[in-house]
Symmetry: none
Subunit: 112 residues, 2 copies
DNA sequence: CTCTTATATGACTTGACGGGCATATGAAGC
DNA sequence: GCTTCATATGCCCGTCAAGTCATATAAGAG
């Protein structure tokens, strides 16, 4: 299962990731929230962990999973060359910047 | 072939898209640049066009393909809820970008 | 009109992945 | 200890998608 892109091609895995984006969750919580079989949840979590999208913490008999950002950052970076196609439109640019500029302090000269 | 994510899961399609991100290209140009069989290029372009990632223009016997941004915008928007994981750690982001600037592929997987 | 160039399509094969089910591991509680 | 809860794993099967090869379409060139 090579690339990060292949990992997030699976709808159930995207659902799991989106759920974990809000906060960390145990396997059982994911199972009930997303209404999918436990064995399926575990398998997808295994794939996600092997690919570095999530990590787990042990809480008694439970395993609590949370997001690891690195693989999604890769995807985000792959999108970079394409952003000019929609940041050229002003309204789309503003929506995009509104999302990006949550952080108050502009960094020193990186790209852009 | 449902989602935009499934479309970009294919490495050759990502290569085609990245090539087209720079400028529009004919099928033959893509074939030569990426060194893949023409029939394969055509099939991937068919998939990309059906999914709205590209559109084609007719130039004599050639078909010139160019990017259409909408599906990639979808992907970009799906990433939005995850961005806090790296925009909250600006320093880590900077370190990451610095590494990316120097070496093209520091691909590594580890756990904590 | 024929030949060549450029691209698309169809048939077939192969391999990978997800779902389902049974089962294994493992920690808790009694 | 045994039982229950929580999660993981192994196996089988159906599906679907990518690659290959052959062929079809369609537009110049001569």
């Amino acid at each position: 299962m090579e690339s990060s892109f292949a990992i997030i091609a699976e709808p159930n895995r995207r659902a799991i990731l989106s759920l974990l984006a809000a906060s960390e969750h145990s396997v059982g919580e994911i199972e009930h929230q997303l209404r999918m079989p436990q064995t399926s949840v575990s398998k997808h979590l295994r794939v996600l962990r092997d690919a570095g999208f999530v990590e787990s913490r042990v809480d008694a008999q439970r395993r609590v999973y949370r997001i690891r950002p690195e693989p999604l950052m890769e995807v985000d970076e792959w999108l970079a060359p394409f952003r000019r196609f929609w940041t050229l439109h002003v309204d789309a640019l503003e929506r995009h910047l509104d999302r990006m500029d949550q952080e108050p302090e502009p960094r020193k000269g990186k790209k852009r």
